[in-house]
């Protein structure tokens, strides 16, 4: 299993501060993408009823969909619908339906990147 990603290249200023959007007020050192990912993983466990999983079990770059893929979660189209709804509710970010969603749902990394790139602008 790959060590948890804590890449310094995801630097402050490259993306909107997640802290502002979700009220975390976290300092830049924690990295907005990492906050998104952990919020996303907790959301996945809750919404998809992955009762026997912890956030640490969910590998950032593993394929999410498709049966029996390595350390993936083997999610299906019903999970995709549930996730899309929950992500829109939690982050205010829409996930397009149909084929456009495929690359976004590829992995936790891909989903988090889409979320961070599309967070709604907050008024000051």
């Amino acid at each position: 299993m790959r060590p948890k990603s804590r890449s310094a290249s995801v630097a402050c200023g490259e993306r909107p501060r997640l802290g502002k959007a979700v009220g975390l007020g976290a300092g830049c050192a924690s990295g907005s993408a990492v906050d998104t990912k952990s919020a996303l993983k907790e959301l996945m466990i809750r919404e998809l009823n992955l009762a026997n999983r912890t956030p640490d079990d969910i590998v950032d770059d593993a394929p999410l969909f498709g049966p029996g893929v390595g350390n993936g979660l083997s999610l299906d189209s019903l999970d995709a619908l549930q996730l899309a709804m929950a992500i829109e509710e939690r982050f205010g970010v829409k996930i397009p339906e149909g084929d456009g969603a495929r690359s976004i749902f590829a992995s936790v990394d891909a989903l988090a990147a889409h979320i961070d790139a599309n967070l709604p602008a907050k008024s000051a």
Binding site: E47, L48, N49, L50, A51, N52, S74, D76, S77, L78, D79, L81, Q82, M85, E88, E89, E97
Partner: protein, 716 residues
């Protein structure tokens, strides 16, 4: 495989053939069978702007709603009557009138397929309920149970000698019709009113929207670019009789029900099985049951919802079942919408009209056909003399039903070779044996030998080993059961334990592909509906929870069990206040005796939720409880021939019997031991166990049904 026999509707012998003598319908095309027929064949659509309710965040503005004025004229609003009830009463009344059948004068049964019942009237109050019911809410809640519709029909049009409610998602009323034929064949009734009803409601509308299968444009079955279904509402009933009886009383037969087959993909709770293999098998078995070849069939009325997945897979299924014969196909759902539990009966009515008019119904709306749907669509209605036609329905969980209708005249049905080949299908009057039993009660999960002993202990006031019920379902595989709610976990655990018990009693295991599953709770997933609707009303339909919606259908728990255990027979819920297990087991015996299924695991269950119990308080079953507990039961039923073939020793032989109205069960589980509405089922399981253990003959009564368990001596 013994399943070749399932799907047979006996009565191929002269006089015992099942005929349709009455039809009644309410739909978006109007009130009455004539309105439905005219609308369908004239190519009109009832899909229009939704007016029954507003719904913030909805994915569509369209629905196929019944005109309020027309409905009010046919069946005025009344206190304690839901919209579903009113449509059902109107359709049932018409069917009985057309048939000239008077329930008071003869033994008439009634079977209602449903999925929403009074949900339109109760969904808002469920969403907002915080513990106290006012007078208006109390009245509304009385229309909530799925069984309230059959009661409304009984109160208005009865008395009926036998009554049942069935839910199998969108195949509910098709299954009601098949069950009605079984009742006739077994001489349980002299006529039967069989069909279904479902009104529109915000819950189903937002649920299908959340699953992204609601088309914002008018639904276009089998067309290129289709994007989902149009939700509709309606009701339809057929009056079925044995042909000899209809002839004797001079009734006109409108059509014959030549055959039927029921089955289950058991693949996924919402998605159809890619390739349509099971669906194709159901079609083929229905034709075989009717003694017909594919070329004898002139028309298929498809399920055809207009979703990309259904139509493509169904087209494959039709092609596979009909082979070289390019049968004409159309779906009526572009005109009447998807009417959920009423669909099977409404579309059967349309199929019968096609036979009678010698005219094929069109596939509306027009448009380019999806090349992936390689079937011959009827583009506009055209005259064509057809000898036989099929109506197919599918639903959540993979439930499937195909009904085969023929013209009422016996002669000229199909080619000479088809007539010659038509098998005189005889279903041997095999006994029904119980070969496994399980129960979950405050003492945990038990199978028959422990159950019999424990009950003796309990009735003597002895100590009982108590296992926490929360542990009872822990053995399920976490990954494969993650979509299950508590109810589904209970049913699956019960079914698995009973089936393992049945396996162990024989040299060979029961073939899971041949097993039907029948189980439900009395009042459905009330806590799930409350939670789902609270979100819809608080946050808008856009945030309805897709994964939670399928679990709101009363047949969802038994469907989950079928998927988990690979059970290929129909998955049916039979809610009936406190006689839910009795209804399930009776239905299983009736379907077994009718040759419609080969084996079944049947029982009931109840879950506990404090808020749900408070909102259900006005209902009779709930009011009589002093304390409630979770639990349930399941028994395995198979034919004697099947049990002998796999070397299985039974617990008991079971028969449905008549019992005097003051009869009491020989063995009743004390309320304290299994204090829930499903305790009848626990008594039933216990009776089987006791019969085997002590060789006792035991009677159980409940819900107007009586069961006799007798010991069986088996060599070796």
């Amino acid at each position: 495989m013994s399943a070749v026999r399932s799907g047979v509707v006996p009565g191929a012998e002269a006089g015992r053939r099942v005929v349709v003598t009455g039809i009644g319908a309410v739909s978006a095309l109007g009130v009455g069978w004539r309105a439905l027929e005219n609308g369908v064949f004239e190519g009109r659509s009832g899909v229009r702007t939704r007016t029954l309710f507003d719904l913030a965040g909805a994915r569509s503005t369209l629905s196929a709603g019944v005109d309020d004025g027309a409905l009010a004229a046919a069946e005025p609003p009344a206190e304690g009557r839901s919209r579903t009830d009113r449509m059902a009463i109107a359709a049932a009344r018409e069917a009985l009138t057309v048939a000239g059948v008077a329930p008071a004068a003869t033994r008439v049964g009634v079977i209602v397929g449903g999925s929403t019942a009074g949900m339109f009237e109760t969904e808002a109050l469920l969403a907002r309920f915080e513990g106290v019911l006012d007078a208006d809410s109390t009245t509304r809640m009385r229309t909530h149970p799925l069984s309230s519709t059959v009661e409304a029909i009984g109160a208005t049009l009865g008395p009926f000698s036998r009554a049942r409610t069935v839910c199998a998602a969108c195949t509910s009323s098709a299954i009601a019709i098949a069950l009605g034929a079984a009742w006739l064949d077994e001489g349980l009734v002299d006529a039967v009113l069989a069909g279904g009803a479902d009104a529109l409601c915000r819950l189903t509308y937002s649920g299908f929207g959340a699953l992204s299968v609601l088309d914002p444009a008018p639904a276009r079955p089998f067309r290129e670019g289709r994007a989902g279904l149009a939700l509709g509402e309606g009701a339809a009933f057929l009056v079925l009789e044995r042909e000899a009886d209809a002839t004797t009383r001079g009734a006109r037969a409108l059509a014959a029900l030549a055959g039927a087959a029921l089955g289950n993909e058991a693949h996924h709770i919402t998605n159809p099985e890619p390739g349509g293999k099971t669906a194709s098998g159901i079609l083929s078995r229905a034709l075989a049951a009717a003694g017909l070849e594919p070329r004898d069939v002139g028309y298929v009325n498809a399920h055809g919802t207009g979703t990309p997945q259904n139509d493509a897979n169904e087209a494959l299924a039709i092609r596979a079942a009909f082979g070289a014969h390019r049968v004409a196909v159309s779906s009526s759902k572009g005109q009447i919408g998807h009417t959920l539990a009423a669909a099977g009966a409404l579309e059967a009515a349309i199929t019968i009209a096609a036979l009678r008019r010698a005219e094929l119904p069109p596939n509306v709306p027009a448009g380019a056909k999806d090349p992936a749907c390689d079937v011959d669509l009827v583009e506009s209605s055209r005259p064509e003399r057809i000898e036989a036609a099929v109506s197919s329905s599918f639903g959540f969980g993979g439930t499937g039903a195909s009904l085969v209708f023929e013209g009422a005249a016996r002669s000229g049905a199909g080619s000479d070779s088809a007539v010659a080949q038509r098998a005189r299908i005889e279903v041997a009057r095999d006994e029904v044996w119980v070969t496994g039993a399980s129960a979950i009660a405050p003492w945990g999960v038990v199978v028959w030998d422990a159950l019999a002993a424990l009950l003796d202990d309990v009735s003597r006031g002895g100590a009982v080993v108590r296992l926490p019920v929360t542990d009872a379902t822990a053995a399920l595989d976490a990954a494969r059961s993650r979509r299950m709610d508590r109810a589904a976990r209970l049913v699956t655990t019960l079914a698995e334990a009973a089936l393992r018990d049945a396996d162990g009693r024989g040299a060979r295991a029961l073939d899971r592909a041949s097993v039907a599953a029948l189980s439900s709770s009395a009042y459905g997933n009330v806590e799930g509906c409350m939670k789902f609707m609270r979100r819809v009303l608080d946050r808008g339909a856009a945030f309805a929870s897709p994964a939670d919606f399928p679990n709101l259908v009363p047949s969802s728990p038994v469907s989950h069990a079928a998927i988990y255990l690979g059970l290929g027979g129909p998955a049916i819920a039979t809610p009936d206040h406190a006689a839910t297990a009795e209804a399930a087991i009776a239905t299983a015996v009736e379907l077994l005796d009718g040759g419609m299924i080969d084996a079944a695991v049947a029982g009931s269950f109840e879950t506990v939720d404090a808020l749900a119990e408070r909102v259900l308080a006005p209902l009779p079953g709930v009011a009589s409880l002093r304390a409630s507990a979770e639990g349930g039961s399941a028994i395995v039923l198979e034919r004697r021939s099947s049990a002998l073939a796999r070397g299985a020793k039974p617990l008991a032989r079971v028969r449905l019997t008549d019992a005097p109205s003051d009869a009491r069960s020989d063995l009743a589980v004390p309320v304290a031991a299994a204090g829930h509405l499903g305790r009848g089922g626990v008594s039933l399981a216990a009776a089987c166990a006791r019969t085997a253990w002590r060789g006792e003959r035991l009677l159980h009564v409940g819900g107007g049904l009586a069961f006799l368990f007798e010991p069986v001596m088996v060599e070796g």
